[in-house]
Structure formats: structure tokens, C-alpha cells
Amino acid sequence: MEEKRHYFDVVVIGSGLAGLRASIEAVKVGSVAVLTKLYPTRSHSTAAQGGIGAALGNEEPDDPAWHTFDTVKGSDYLGDQDAIELMCYEAIPTVIELEHMGVPFSRTPEGKIAQRRFGGHTKHFGAEPVRRACYSADRTGHAVLFALFEQANRLGVRFFEECQVLDIVIEDNKVQGIIALELKSGILHIFEAKAVVVAVGGFGRLFKVTSNALASTGECLSMLFEQGVPLEDMEFFQFHPTGIYGLGILITEGARGEGGILINGLGERFMEKYAPTLKDLAPRDVVARAMLQEIREGRGINGKDYVYLDLRHIPREIIEKRLPEISSFCKIYLGIDPAEAPIPVAPTAHYAMGGIPTDIHGRVRADIGETFIEGLYSAGECACVSVHGANRLGCNSLLDTLVFGRQAGKHIVQNFKDLTKGSVPRARIERVKDMIKDFINRKGKERLSNLREELQEVMTTYCSVFRDEEGLKRAIESIRDLRERFKYISLRDSSLIFNQELLNAFELYHMFNLAEVIAQSALMRTESRGAHYRVDFPSRDDEAWLKHTFAFKRGEEIVFKYRPVMITKFTPQERKF
């Protein structure tokens, strides 16, 4: 197998918003390589529709202090308030800077960045919805991703596209570099660096129905986990209320921000019952549970497992101007025009609140205290700062990727002299080669795709919106069983060029780890908070559980430690919307 060695001062894994924003900062001090398993502009950030939250106050008075409060409350008080405050205040210069980089935001009549309503975002600390989401029609992610990619190129960031990272090398508590397979050539690339930024996005593909890309598989989190790095708050996975029924394709919350409402089989606007003030714009965990409760009680459409998102009362012109993309999804995939027919929707696996634990500078924590893996940074959906706590508000993820992508880049710039060059030991390269050989040579009776589908089925059945002890235990058992069966897979493609079967095998191998961490973390947490709802423990228990879960791999076991939540201004209260 051919090898190529490279040295870059900084290596960034992932070319979504987080990775690109980090690279734009880091390239100020040294050479930067961005690796991505896709072509950069195909990263899933491009799918973000609704907007970025920032209290610009362009359409009506707004205040970053309100944004901070909303985010804390939305997180069900599990978010770290120092990080949240930083994010909400930095939001304003961050969005302005994006505009300067060329992002084509939608505009107000006087030419300022337009803003719209989004779930959980309010004025005067919860009084009523506020226009805070800065958007580019319903293609915000695409608009921002392109502008960042363009500027990163302009500044001399080097891109290694379609290079899938197979190992992140940590030795002696320092990141040394990474090992990646180039898809089109089959060459193994070894990168050594002073710093590595992990910005690999989400892992919604653990579930059967998801808004996430086929590439959102999360293997890099597991690579770190296997080397002793903890994973934080993995039990908190967000289900977005409005996925197109059956397909999971997202209909942005912006559709409700523009006035869309949810209706059940009886034609009732049921959110009025569950969240009298914010109604359809309550946070996602609340709305997703309400929908499923309606469905469970037989009030789905024709008694089936979906409800309707109704946009029919919104003027066609508004739909076409502000929601063109989702309108086209409805036409293409459902054959309906949302201005004339309601859209069948059901919750879809959407966003990982948990992930690689970092401080506000993006440094990856080695433990629950203030110790870090030298040179290792993480930002974006794969990281957990934690600003989203138990439930993320819409529009806060793009913001998180940008603010903390930049924080990581800045920290690298400021500490550049103290960072030492890494060196990838031969043994680690041989290990990856052995793994490739081993996978390719496996000739058992199990089919890879069956195992993946079964895993998704298990996660969907037991680890979705409603959870309980019995189900979670069953999930853990099934995951272990699947992992065992994985030993007997059979690969048919033995080439190294664009061998998707091989890459799928790598991904699935790691997905078992993430699945088990999610199920075990959820089993441990005997309370309900934000997106984590335990039917057998239906209320929040601050006394026992106002703390972050840290899962560690110790041998074959997962052990847990807990870290206190950072509370500065807002003491936990019961959430009412």
C-alpha cells in the first residue's frame, strides 16, 4: 500500500462550518491542511436551512442577554452558562463578519440582514417570540459554507478532499497527527502536525430516519473514545419535530417561524395545549414529544404515525420567497404544493448535543477537570462545550460551529510557539494497514448492510424520544450482539480505489461504540431533561442530575464520571413555554 507523508502546522478534520472557520483563523500563523471525506462544499452544513441566531436587532429590539437566557432555558439548564454567554455576545460580530466575507443574507427593505422568528428565541426573557434568526432564504447553511470555503481558499488553506480519516494518533497525552485514506487513489496519507482540530459534524445515521447526510456517521469521535478520551452528554440527541414523513428530510423550523402550524388528525392546533405561550415555536424537545403523544393517543392523521404541518394560510409569495427549498422538496418528493396541501411530518433524528468535551477555547478535555490532550481541539456538532445542554435551540448550531471554530483557531494562534510538532509512530500506521487488510479479507456470513440496518432499528426503537430502563438494557444487549456478529462480516470489494464497502465497514465498526455510549449514558441518567425523556423517571431531578455525563472506555467497559454544570446568572427553574 502506497504511503505519503505530510507536515502541516495545523490539520483540520472536516470542512463543514466549524472546520472552515477554524482553518481561516489558524492560517494566520502557519500552514493549514483541511481533510474531508467529501468534497468541501458537500459537507452537511450545506443542508442547514433556517438561519443563524444573533441579537442584531435589525427587525425589532433584541439583546444578547435575552439570547443567553433563551439558550440556558432551552438547554433545560444543562448548558454551561459561561460558554453560552460568550457565544451569544460573540454572535453579533460573527454574523457581521460573515456578511463581510460575502454571505448573501436575505435583506430588510433598507438593506440590512433580515431576521425571522425561530423556536425558543424570545424577547424580555421569555415574554414573546423575537426575530433573531439571520437567514439566506431557506439555504442559510449553503450560503455560509460557500463563503467560508471561498475565503479559506483565498487565504491559502490546503484542501485534501475525499480523504477519509481512519485514525487520529494520540500518544503520551499529545495528538501526533492523523492517518487517512485517499478515496480516488487508495493512497494512505500520514499527516503530522502541531495541532489537530476535529470538526467532523454529527452522527444522525445511527438512527433509521434522520435529517443527516449519509456521511454523518461519527467515526472520529469513536477513534478518540477508544484512546481514552471521554465523550460528554451523549444521551442527549435531538429529534426535530418536522421531518418529511418516511424520508426524514427536514422542513425547517423557519416554516413555523413564518406562521406554519401543526395540526393533528382532528384538525386541532394541538401545540396550544402543550405550550400556551410559544405554541408551535416551543423548543424542539417539547414539540417532538407533543406530536408523538398525539400520535400515541390515536390523533395522528387518519390514526397513522404522523401529523400535518400546515402552511396553507401563509401567502404563496412568502412561501416562494422565504421557503423556496422546502417548497421544492415537497413538490419533488411528495408531489404536493405546500401552499395548497398540508405536509405530512414526523420527528426525525437531527442533532447530537453531546460529543467531544472541550473548554471554551476548543481544547479537548482529558478528564472531568481542567486537563487537556495537548494540541487536540474540537468544534462544531461533534464537540460539546456545552452550549446546548440537554436541548439545542434552532439557529444555535451554526452559531456554535462558527464561534467555537474561531475560538479553537484563535487559541492555536495565541499558543503557537508552545505547541510542539507531532510524530506518528510506525506502529500506528501498521495498525491501520492491518485493519484494512483484516476487513478486506473477512469472509464470514454476515452482510454489512444488514448489521447497519439492525443497529439503526435498535437505536430508533429504544433510544429515541421516549426511553425506559427495560428498553435501554435491551438496546445495550443488542448492540453488543451486533458488534460480535460484525466479526463475521464478508467484504466483496478488495480494491483500494473508491472502496465504499471498506469505508462503510470502518464507519460501522465505530458506530457500535457511539451507540453503546448513548444507550449506557441514557440508562445511567434516571431523570428526564430536555431531549432525554425517561418514561420511568418523567421529571427533572436537579439535586441528583444537574451535571454533565462523561463516558470513558476502560478496557471493554464504559465507566462514568460527572462534571458540574457551570451556572453563573440563571438559577434553574421549571421550564414553561
Binding site: 450545506t46 443542508a47 427593505p109 471561498e150 418516511g246 480505489i497
Partner: protein, 239 residues
Amino acid sequence: MEEKVYIFRIKRFNPQSGPESYFQDFEIVLSEYERVLDGLLKIQSELDPSLAFRRSCAHGICGSCAMRINKKNRLACQTLVKELPKVITIEPLPGLPVIKDLVVDMDPFFEKIAEVMPYLINRDPPPERERLQRPEDQEKILEAITCILCGCCTTSCPVYQQSKDYIGPSALLRAYRFIFDTRDQAGKERLERITSKIGLFHCHSALKCLNACPKGIDLPAHIFKLKKLALKTAIRRKD
């Protein structure tokens, strides 16, 4: 849900097994809501895991899965099988080197994009707040900014098929996106770049790109506006 049998007739090529490409038929059952991409994924899972194609978002927004489906460049994830006949012929995008099966080397395509300096250039010191842009000004680039760089348009262009040095509709659209952005200041340089070499005026309005864009962008209209602007600029320069 109604299910039907489809024959996917796929053009195969694997550099490690030989220099020749050939067609292979796969028979699969798909429901009326499924897309060509679902069919390909099913073949990869159940019949032949060595089948190579690009995919990621699965809903027409990332631009990965462009390929030639029944002689038309389309996104596999946006093409419902029920709109197609029983036999579906699938080939890689034309005019680009094939790496494996339906995966083409996109480098020549992206090199053309890079030629137009695809990034906003504004040399004034950035103001404290956003640069203002009136909605009617933004209107001019609204369609152009929806491009997902899938390659469907350029690889359908007969001029590009004849000369791989031709800049192609996609790169022209990229240039347009910046030239007509009121915040950009490098319009002149860009115009020069797209009119020198085998550029803008080699487009002879064959209009093959008119219906090629899966996002519905009217490429000929944008190219026409670029030509008008380039002519006006040239005349002004002569005056």
C-alpha cells in the same frame, strides 16, 4: 405503497480489473416514493457492494450524486423512479475522466471554477456593521447563489465536450454570482478572465444547459447578461 420491478442498466468501470467499461443489469424492486439513489444504495447493499457512486445529503442539496440517467444529467437523489421507464440506464457524467463506475474525476471541473476568482473581493475597510444591500440588488444574484456545483450543466454543454479548455457554464455562473453582487469590487478582473482564452464568447447558445440544472437555474439567461455586460464594457473602453 405500490412496488415495481426496475432494471438498472449501469455502466461499470474498475481500473483495477481492466481498461474496458461495460454495462451490467441489476433487477430491483422499488416503491413509488423511491429515488434512483435508493435503487443504487439497494444494489450496493444487497447485490454488489463494489458499485461505486458519490452520495451524501440524499435530498438534492450537496451536489454529490450527479450522473447521467437515461441520457440526461440529473441528481440521483432527486429523481423518482416512478417518473422513469422500467429500464433505467445510468452512466457517469460525460466528458470527465472516470475513476470507478459512476465516480468521475471532478478536478478539471473545479479548476475552471477556480479561474474566476470565486470569492468576494472588497478592498474597502470593513464597516462596523453589515454592508447594506437592497433586496432589489440582491434579486440579481438570488438564482446564481443556489448553485450546488454538481457539474450537470458544464458536462451537458456541447462546447465543453468539444474543447476541455472551454470555461463552461458552471464557472460562468460562479463569475456572474460575484460580478453582479453589489458588494464585490473585482468585476473587471473577473470579466477579463472569463473573456480571455476559450471563454464567455465561445458559448454559442446551444442552450443544452437550459434544462440541465437540477436546481432550476436558468443558465443561458445568466450567460446572456454576462455577454451584454462584457460588450458594454468593451465599447466603453474603446470610447
